[in-house]
């Protein structure tokens, strides 16, 4: 009995997006990271090519985080008051990129000025030569002031800037366009909205192939299946040739996983749930590997053990 041919023929693929710029490319990064580029369903090697395995960025905050549980404090507690030192730690742990969050520019989190944010970004760029993902503070009015200056300060470094939303897309898009950065387009859990944001950005003349989409994230046990189906549908659309869905996908796995009480709670739950030091990273790793099956290309994560577990799983799935 012959095995039936199950190989799919796809007409489209995921756009490949390169982040960071080396000296030769006008930046100061030691290397670049390329994400996307697949021409088949995730991890079905017979189906199409996966030229670039999923990349992992580790979170760096520009101020000491409030409420990070002990398993994370054990890894970063000694450096988290200094973003540059924290970024160096992240590189040392093996991250592909630094996911820098300028949380202290938030009006309620210190309300630091654009100039202070620029100083932080410069310090991080100095400290490590990894490509950067840079986020504002999620308050559009403030981000509109801060992010253009940050984009200007990082000119030439080909960073990934987050995030453009339907209501506020002009300022960040213009900044990314002016200073040569890539963009994250955020549209929570809605394929049509995702397309619409991509259209709005590209209507401004920003190239579709420089966009990374962020459909929002949910962790294991907290509606992950919803995001999963959005990822899956998006990926199938991309492979079927839909140019507006062809962008590689960013997911904020670390932030979402460590919000789950299963990841956060300590050893008082050890009897039934297992030790906290294992449980949190496991929660993050399972969330990440599950979502990668749906179709994701760039993960922001927190715990190095989780990152290692994900890398191992990816390696096995890709047959490396």
């Amino acid at each position: 009995m012959s095995v039936p041919e199950v190989k799919e023929k796809w007409s489209g693929g995921v756009t490949a997006v390169t982040l960071g710029a080396t000296k030769a490319e006008g930046g100061t990064r030691g290397s670049t990271v390329t994400i996307g580029g697949q021409t088949g369903i995730p991890f079905l090697n017979f189906d199409g090519e996966t030229p670039h395995p999923p990349a992992i960025a580790l979170d760096v905050l520009d101020k000491e985080p409030a409420g990070w549980p002990p398993p994370l404090a054990d890894v970063y507690g000694d450096v988290w008051s200094d973003p540059a030192a924290w970024a160096a730690r992240v590189k040392q742990l093996g991250a592909d990129l630094v996911n820098l969050r300028l949380v202290s520019t938030h009006p309620d989190e210190g309300d630091r000025s654009a100039d202070e944010a620029v100083a932080t970004v410069k310090a991080v760029l100095e400290a490590v030569d990894l490509p950067l993902i840079i986020w504002g503070c999620d308050v559009p009015a403030k981000d509109q002031v801060v992010m253009p200056k940050v984009a200007e300060a990082a000119q030439g470094e080909n960073c990934l800037l987050g995030a453009v939303i339907e209501d506020e897309y002009r300022t960040l898009t213009a900044a990314a366009q002016a200073y040569g950065h890539k963009l994250i387009a955020l549209s929570p859990c809605d394929i049509n909205k995702s397309k619409q944001v991509n259209i709005l950005i590209s209507d401004m003349g920003y190239p579709l192939q420089d966009i990374v989409v962020y459909p929002s994230t949910a962790s294991l046990g907290y509606g992950m299946e919803y995001i999963y189906s959005i990822l899956e549908r998006g990926r199938l659309a991309a492979l079927s040739g839909d140019r507006l869905m062809a962008q590689p996908v960013f997911l904020d796995v670390g932030y979402e996983s460590w919000r789950a009480k299963e990841a956060r709670s300590g050893d008082e739950m050890a009897d039934t749930w297992g030790p906290a030091a294992e449980r949190g990273p496991a929660w993050e790793a399972v969330t990440a590997t599950d979502l990668l099956q749906g179709g994701a290309d760039l993960l922001a994560m927190r715990h190095p053990k989780a990152m290692e577990a994900v890398r191992m799983a990816v390696g096995q799935l890709l047959g490396e």
């Binding site: 394929i191 049509n192 619409q196 991509n198 259209i199 209507d203 003349g205 507006l244």
Partner: protein, 659 residues
């Protein structure tokens, strides 16, 4: 209890109300129309009036600006008088148009006469008069009067017949002259009789008998009971021509602008009765107007054929309408049998019949059945789409082979509600808008040429289309203030930008006609709902828009609707413009066709029976289609190639992706 005298300008009508009654109540008392689209629920902000003298008290409102409050503006539904008052109803709140019997507004004449009519192949009215010269009974031919008449009738109108006791009692004296002498009397045979025969379900009924030949005095009333407008046509059934037409606003408007708010009103004590009375009174007003103009007796009107949405027909007949609103959305009746018009209070011939056009379901009514009939789409091999764009957008897709229909709750934005400067197509309503590049400049026309006070549906569609093409809004409908800085003003309360379509100082109107971001969002949602409904139907039968050979547009928009604007914003599919056809008031046209041929009446029943209704509320894909359609013109620009071309050609910066 204290009472206050309230005088309303400019009508100069006065009333006295008890303390505690709102100004809107007072206006109703005084028969002064104040545009309360929500029916006094405090949600529409349209019942703006100006206090000239006296004082009121009430809650503050976000619908009025500080400047307006300084100028004495209040919302009539939110304030109660605390002194005698002199109140001015400003133009934007006024209802101009029908002022009563004999007074015709041009816009209503237009409205009333619109309608693509397909005359039946052969005249066979549902109520027909037959003149007979019956032979005198003899000993050899002793057939009784009733049988004699019915036999004659059945030769002209085959099928079972019935005749009531009252007519049977009258018949001998109609057939004979009864000559009384001093001590005796004599019956003298005449035999010339006109019988009026009407269709009652499966039986024909002799409705009345008259001596002599009166066959040329037979009239019918075609009725379109719209949520907003009631239209009546007086049809001469002896020859099939329309003698007169009249229209007026549905008086139920004061109980709410849309079907659901009226049904809610019906749940209040006395509410259902008030709604029934209001609509009957409207029809009575129209009948009075028509018979006076046509010099016809009310008794010569033998039938009424009423089309309308399901809720309106329920109110007309006094049926329980509440269930229409509630899942599983079951109406009381979808094809009420023909009944005496007098039973619902219509003053035509006492034995005259009221026919209702069969309805498909709770949200696809007799107006749609009539529209499908009028369009002829069920007789054609060509695939056609019929769209009735209203608060509920009804969509029908089909051909000779099949017919599917659905209804989308689109919202009242195109009828002027839920848009800050929205209004109905009355005096001062902007009904068309053209943008010219440079600045951009805007040219607008109003319904009657008077200075603009607001925008009606067609004006809103034109405005949105122009704003998109000029890049004043992006494809998500967001204002792009930088592209036309001079045309935006800041809201004095919240500082939000508002697009000034027509400035008062240029137009001579009472206020700037503006569009807010929220207005645009409402319009986008409304058009999105209608397009998504169309999309759902088209997908459900596995065809593409390109295969649709005819698109019929029914409803009040009529010929004022600019097809290109509708396609630009993605309300109508992007098919060649020659495929579109305006049906105008297809409800009244269909009602007339049914009146003029009982074969057509049967056809309407068959159409009703064959329409497959699709409930979008249980269609999971509908929500997704809706989100896709809430973009200008659509998320998938490849569905709108001509718009992609125009967006590119306009150089508005909105260069389509992939173009």
């Amino acid at each position: 209890m204290a009472h206050f005298r309230i005088r309303f300008l400019p009508d100069n009508l006065e009333t006295t109300v008890a303390a505690g009654k709102t100004l809107l109540d007072a206006a109703r008392e005084a028969n002064v129309y104040v545009g309360a689209i929500c029916g006094g629920e405090r949600i529409c902000g349209k019942c703006r009036v100006i206090i000239r003298e006296g004082e009121v008290e009430g809650e503050s409102t976000e619908f009025l600006t500080r400047d307006e409050i300084r100028r004495g503006y209040v919302l009539a539904c939110q304030v109660v008088p605390i002194t005698d008052l002199l109140v001015e109803v400003p133009p934007e709140s006024r209802l101009t148009g029908y002022k009563g019997i004999g007074v015709d507004s041009e816009q209503f004449r237009d409205f009333a006469h619109r309608g693509a009519e397909r005359p039946p192949a052969a005249l066979a009215p549902i109520v027909e008069k037959y003149f007979f010269d019956l032979p005198e009974p003899t000993l050899d031919d002793p057939t009784a009067d009733q049988e004699r008449l019915l036999e004659a009738v059945s030769k002209r109108r085959p099928g079972p017949l019935q005749m009531g006791l009252k007519i049977t009692r009258e018949l001998p004296r109609v057939l004979r002259r009864h000559e009384a002498k001093r001590t005796s009397w004599k019956w003298k045979w005449d035999g010339r009789v006109t019988a009026t025969v009407g269709m009652r379900a499966d039986v024909n009924e002799v409705l009345c008998v008259e001596s002599g030949n009166t066959a040329d005095r037979n009239f019918g009333l075609a009725l379109d009971v719209g949520t907003t407008t009631v239209v009546a046509h007086l049809v001469d059934l002896s020859c099939g021509t329309t003698r007169e037409a009249a229209a007026k606003y549905n008086s139920q408007l004061e109980f709410g602008a849309d079907v659901v708010s009226r049904i809610n009103h019906a749940r209040q004590p006395g509410g259902a009765e008030a709604l029934h009375r209001a609509i009957v009174q409207d029809v009575e007003t129209l009948i009075e107007d028509l018979v006076q103009r046509a010099h016809v007796g009310r008794g010569d009107i033998h039938c009424v054929v009423a089309a309308g949405n399901t809720a309106m027909l329920h109110f007309l007949l006094g049926l329980e309408a509440d269930l229409i609103r509630l899942s599983p959305f079951v109406p009381s009746a979808t094809s009420p049998p023909p009944l005496r018009a007098a039973e619902v209070g219509l003053g035509i011939h006492p034995r005259g019949i009221l026919y209702t056009v069969p309805m498909v379901g709770s949200y696809v009514g007799g107006d749609i059945t009539a529209g499908v009939l009028g369009s002829g789409m069920c007789d054609s091999e060509r695939l056609a789409l019929l769209l009735d764009i209203g608060t509920n957008g009804e969509v029908v897709l089909g051909s000779r082979e099949f017919t599917v229909a659905c209804s989308a709750s689109a919202g009242p934005a195109f009828e002027g509600a839920s848009v800050s400067c929205g209004m109905r197509a009355t005096s001062g309503a902007i009904d068309s808008v053209r943008f010219f590049q440079r600045e951009p400049m805007v040219a607008a026309t109003t319904v009657d040429g008077s200075p603009p006070v607001g925008l009606c549906g067609t004006g809103l569609i034109d405005a949105l289309s122009g704003m998109l093409l000029e890049g004043v809004v992006d494809r998500a409908g967001r204002f792009q203030v930088a592209r036309a800085r001079g045309r935006f003003r800041e809201n004095e309360e919240d500082g939000q930008p508002e697009f000034v379509l027509v400035a008062a100082k240029e137009s001579g109107g009472p206020r700037d006609v503006i569009l807010t971001q929220a207005d645009v969002e409402n319009l986008v949602r409304t058009k999105g709902a209608i397009y998504a409904a169309t999309d759902s139907l088209v997908q459900s039968v596995g065809v593409s828009f390109g295969q649709i050979e005819r698109v019929y547009i029914a409803g009040a928009f009529g010929n004022r609707l600019d097809i290109a604007s509708c396609v630009n914003i993605g309300l109508l599919p992007d098919v060649p413009v020659e495929r579109f056809e305006f049906l105008g008031n297809s409800a009244i046209a269909g009602a007339k066709m049914m009146m003029l041929s009982h074969h057509t009446f049967d056809e309407a029943r068959r159409i009703r029976d064959r329409v497959t209704y699709q409930e979008l509320m249980v269609d999971q894909a509908y929500m997704e289609r809706f989100t896709s359609a809430c973009f200008l013109p659509h998320t998938d620009l490849s569905r709108f190639p001509s718009v992609a071309h125009r967006l590119g050609a306009h150089g508005s910066g909105s260069v389509p992706a992939g173009a």
